[in-house]
Amino acid sequence: MLTQLRYRYFPDHLIGEILTKRWIDNAIPFLVLLVAIVVFGILLPGFLTINGLSDLGRQFAEFGLIVLGLTIVMISGGIDLSVASVYTLAVLLSLICVNVEGWPVGLSFLAVMALGVVCGSINGYLIGYLRLRAFLTTLVTLIIFRSIYDIVFLRTSTAIISSLSDSDLWTFIGEGTVLGIPFTLVVTALIAIAWHIVLSRTRPGWRLTAVGGARRSAYNAGIKVRRTVCAAYIWSSVLSALAGFLFAARIGSTGADTGVGLEVSALTAAVLGGNSLGGGRGSVAKAVMGALLVLIVTDSLTSFGVSGPINSTVLGCVLIAAVFVDMRFLRNRDRWLSKVYVSPAYLSLPPPPSALDPTSPYALNDKLRSVEVIGLGQIEGPEDVILDHEDNLYCGTRHGDIVRFFGPDHSRHEIFAHIGGHPLGMAFDRKGDLLVCIGGMGLYAVSPDKTVTKLTDETNRSWLSVVDDSRLRLADDVDVTPDGRVYFSEATVRYEQEDGRPTLSRAGATAASFATILGQAPPEQSSTKSCSRMASACRETGNRSSSLKVGRAPSSAIISRVQKRVGSRRSSITCLATPTTSTALRMGAIGRRFWACEPPRSTSRSPCRTFADAWPSA
């Protein structure tokens, strides 16, 4: 009883499902960020005031852009240490353009952006096209850009200080607000949102992630790897240059220390947010959280009067810790996930029927002696069979075909239709179309003239489901009720087709709760979930009553009846326990009964078998 309650109410599958979400990576940095905000909010009186937040916002606007640029490069599988130098050069160029040369702000802005493109192109060309090591290359450009800064700065320092711009726009960029929010923060927020959409919703973003995740695979998939990598560095430099422009507007000056060590802070922020140093994993949200975290920690430590070197040391320790967690998390995530995710359910089985009692229907008998074997050695993995009105027999094959054995002797066969996926469950609808559930693809219809049409590959998403269960992953069995409704089962909402099987059978040893019986109304051709019992096979027993369905839990030797009445609750009765597992049930077509067994994979060359009266009366 207790065991049952524990498995029924302890939501371990929920934890597992949450762990599979992409945003789970963000949970740890987000929690740390919350803790930091709460702790420093309590300890520092001015921290959570409008004034304090507004100042944090302005600093974040610049720092966040740099971290975002670095994140883009990190997602592409590289690293950009030169962000700080580009930023410093941009500060200097902005001041020279606006203060010394007296250019209009717009023109100065274009000049600074051009600077970003040039610097980024140098990095991008060297790393993307000439394929130099990112770390060393950007380390060198870091030094070169910095030297250029030192040389030019020395010559222009007096001019920068002595001539100040009186442009209102320049002042507005540095100090202005939009609806009470610092203007620079608005700019950064818009850029961050745009990048979020690019990275998560558009093709260029996916390509970037693909290149970072596996460069060779991306190349094989036809992605222009070199161009993508080059573009990442250009964007990184452009964003850094923009940050420099905003800083110049805010401070109106520059010094020998401007941008010194900024690459370390930015790197700390990017890694702390959860962006992988190895590439292929990262997001704007992570960059934003990391940047906020680093700013809050360093600002707060300064406010507490912690001396500078200790502040830097703390930041360094945080970076090491973040890298450590990043590595551990990457290495062990799948292991943790598989541990939690199996999430066994509890199912108490009725005592198995005895096969030794001679009166038992399971007792050894020779009823199958006269069985005729169809298609022996000709087809592989038939899974389900069905007969049409002309007594032709249909079954699927592992190779993605539907094979028709011509009646009445079923000795000749032809490929009825090529589907492309493994046909699992089959049923005829009232028009005479053959409905087929195809693993990994969905519900398809094959008309008598052999044209194949997709009926559906999705259903509604459950309100309370954490994972997206609207896509059909393993449409397994199908039946049609006398009123024309199509019911088909979905064997898993949690595993993909490719990794489902091994995990399914492991989880299924105790029972599993992955399946859903879906109802489909023919006119709209949209499917909704009608029942989420454990069933991978389903069969409408139309000859008995329209309200009866039979389902079977995958990998368990239970056959249950799901009773469905309009306007009343569903109920299920375990009506039969069998000594073996089975994949498909067939009842009462033209007086004969079939039961197709799925054999173990190792001996998979089994033909379709016909059983006479193998279905005991339930």
């Binding site: 001015g46 005031t49 304090g52 020395l154 109106g252 000056s253 600002d299």
Partner: protein
């Protein structure tokens, strides 16, 4: 009757004497009470360039001592040489609303707007030794133009017409946009303009870094083996130049003049022959001036920014001939 009178007078005298004995001296409540009470619990924040070097540690030691004595709080926000961290420290400080903000400015511009904001928020701002272009309540520190004039003149005296030397000099700037640097640079150029025999062969920024100063000087010495003098921004930086000169075996030939806080380290560098002359702005003296200004600003009823004063601290010259233990301070002396 006579006796009674005498007794009465005697008694009166005794009482009067007693009263006199009790009223000897004055408590000065009128001045002392408001002085100590008003200072108690005030809050002073100090944003230096960084802690951990002679100037800021020296000032902080002196200011901390008085704060402890008079019962106001004195806190340091250390941006560790980062202007950006400094702007954050000042913005934070404005939010915390101290009574007085003491700022050591990294350059003439960066903190200028923020200091105006602090003043507008009613916080008095005292700039120490390095100022911005915008004056606030008080500036206490060196007159950098004067420092520059003295340095340049010393160089002219040593390398000019009558000296019979090459007249080649190098300028080692500090942080290019800092007040000390730009004002001194003006003074050098002003003086050298009157002395065409002085030839500036190098002008580079060592950004307070002795290693950089050393590297620059090594290069200059290779290009100009007959270099006559170096004028630098800060003794702690230019000791690197001295090391390079010594390593090249030109200690007697190259005259190095710079400025500094007058600490024992500077004196030692002079006696070791690494530096020739230091124009000292005397940190202990500046510290006392700061303490005086702190009290004045904390007690003054004037609103922040309404009264603006400047005190250029006196300069002393330190050379091998003039240095004495009395002139050279250590941090322990100040604590």
């Amino acid at each position: 009757m006579k006796l009674r009178m005498v007794l009465a007078i005697a008694l009166g005298l005794v009482f009067a004497g007693g009263a006199l004995a009790e009223d000897k001296g004055l408590d000065n409540h009128a001045k002392r009470d408001p002085y100590y009470e008003k200072l108690k619990g005030k809050k002073v924040l100090f944003v230096p360039l960084a802690m951990g070097f002679d100037l800021t540690e020296g000032w902080a030691a002196i200011m901390r001592r008085q704060a402890k004595d008079l019962g106001y709080t004195f806190e340091i926000r250390d941006p560790n040489w980062s202007t950006d961290a400094g702007t954050r420290a000042i913005t934070d400080a404005i939010a915390q609303k101290p009574d007085l903000l003491i700022v050591h400015n990294p350059d003439l511009q960066s903190y200028a707007k923020l200091e105006q904001r602090a003043v507008q928020a009613g916080i008095k701002v005292l700039q120490v030794n390095l100022e911005t272009v915008n004056p606030t309540d008080t500036y206490i520190g060196a007159d950098w133009v004067k420092v520059g004039l003295i340095e340049a003149q010393a160089l002219v005296d040593h390398c000019g017409k009558e000296s019979g030397k090459s007249g080649k000099v190098a300028i080692l700037e500090g942080q290019p946009t800092a007040a000390s640097n730009l004002y001194e640079l003006y003074a050098y150029n002003h003086v050298f303009a009157d002395h065409p025999e002085i030839q500036v062969v190098a002008d580079q920024a060592a950004t307070y870094d002795p290693a950089k100063a050393r590297a620059i000087t090594e290069t200059v010495l290779q290009q100009h083996p007959d270099l006559c003098g170096i004028v630098g921004n800060w003794d702690n930086q230019d000791v690197g130049a001295g090391a390079a000169v010594q390593a090249a075996g030109k200690s007697g030939q190259v005259f190095i003049v710079t400025s500094g806080g007058g600490s024992k380290t500077g004196c030692d560098n002079i006696s070791k022959g690494l530096l020739s002359e230091i124009v000292s702005y005397d940190v202990p003296l500046q510290g006392d001036a700061l303490n005086q200004a702190i009290v004045e600003l904390l007690l003054s009823p004037a609103k922040a920014g309404t009264v603006q004063t400047t005190y250029f601290t006196p300069l002393t010259l330190q050379t091998k001939d003039t240095i004495s233990p009395r002139q050279c301070w250590t941090l322990d002396d100040l604590k």
